[in-house]
Symmetry: C3
Subunit: 163 residues, 3 copies
């Protein structure tokens, strides 16, 4: 991971995405009274997002019952891809990103499930794969009883952009 | 909603509140080591709030068991009215608000309850009714197992004000 | 509490810690793709932390089942000591802190546990004991079904520092 981070850091994020075979999904425009992203000063606040698959459908299920930790990691990685798609639409150019500042990951699990950090690593790891050292962030990983539409994981984040 | 948002945008928030028959409650001064609102730069961080009714009492109960989605929506709307009361006390003039930046809504529900977004819409919709386009925000809606005093919903937010 | 806060305000935080017999623990350097703290402008975003004891081990258990409210308060106080240790490592001098801006406390409890605020007071109270009026913050206290490694409480925060 650390070696890859250094390599990625010298590339532009869009090229890393292509090299990894990641296609950014189309995120439906927000309908109604909230939206996917709001800018305030140099900070971008991104709404919580679930694990959107390439086929346009979301993964559902509860950790410790329907999904194991590896499947949770994969779901969190899909949340990360969806958030990068939101950033790409907002910024046009992902090199405008100065730092992934803060990530909050909510994991839908049974009461006895305590590997929330291993699940949210699926999100964190992709941020560093794509953005290198700029992708290293502060973070909280929380276990919850339920999430919208039965998602196993929902992740929001704050991103700082260049002036 | 969109039409109303445009109309509201040309009015001052206090007039919209009056036109809608909304009276802002008196929020008790925080006692102790935390407070209702803290300013940092141009951002206001508002503490999480529950559904305070006009009679000074809070709604309690769990979504999917004690309250249905419509009742949850109404409770989230009460959280929004309470947060606007906090903003009015802090700012004096609600026209100083530049943008509702971020909303985080926690919904106290049974494990199988997955309509957190429909509940938190009660908060989001009121923000746009009162502040127009400035009220459109980024958002997370999360399901949790319990909340202070048995509230069905608790909502915190970040607001940007004019220089 | 209020009297103590005034006294503390005229002292430097490190002296208050010593006077109270609090030794800051050594926080292991973050390994991997996230970290304990990220600075953006004048704001420090601290990752969520659990109740780290002086012996290097974490308290575990669920409120309302394994721990009572007083034990939860003590656990939240340990989270606060750990976060102050992170700040000390980052800043060198705790007097650089301008304001504790926002605290979010997650309490791992049974469904019927509703005293999250009394638990998180263990965190909030220590902030004011150490930083005086600068320690008064906005806050949310949330009940959740599970936390990493079975922690009873996890707390994250945002801190503003002097220019």
């Amino acid at each position: 991971m650390q070696l890859f981070a250094i390599v990625a850091f010298s590339q532009i994020p869009e090229e890393v995405l292509t090299a990894k075979g990641i296609t950014l999904p189309s995120i439906p425009a927000s309908i109604g009274t909230y939206t996917s992203i709001v800018r305030s000063g140099n900070l971008l606040y991104l709404s919580g997002r679930g694990p959107l698959q390439a086929n346009g459908k979301y993964i559902t299920g509860k950790l410790g019952k329907d999904l194991n930790t590896e499947q949770g990691y994969a779901a969190a990685r899909l949340c990360a891809i969806a958030q990068i798609a939101v950033l790409k639409t907002e910024l046009g150019n992902l090199s405008k990103i100065k730092r992934i500042v803060k990530v909050t990951g909510f994991v839908n699990g049974i009461d006895s499930f305590t590997d929330q950090p291993k699940v949210i690593n699926g999100f964190s790891d992709l941020m560093v794969e794509i953005f290198g050292a700029k992708g290293i962030h502060s973070r909280s990983a929380i276990g919850v009883a339920s999430l919208p539409s039965g998602w196993p994981v929902e992740v929001e984040m704050i991103v700082e952009i260049e002036d």
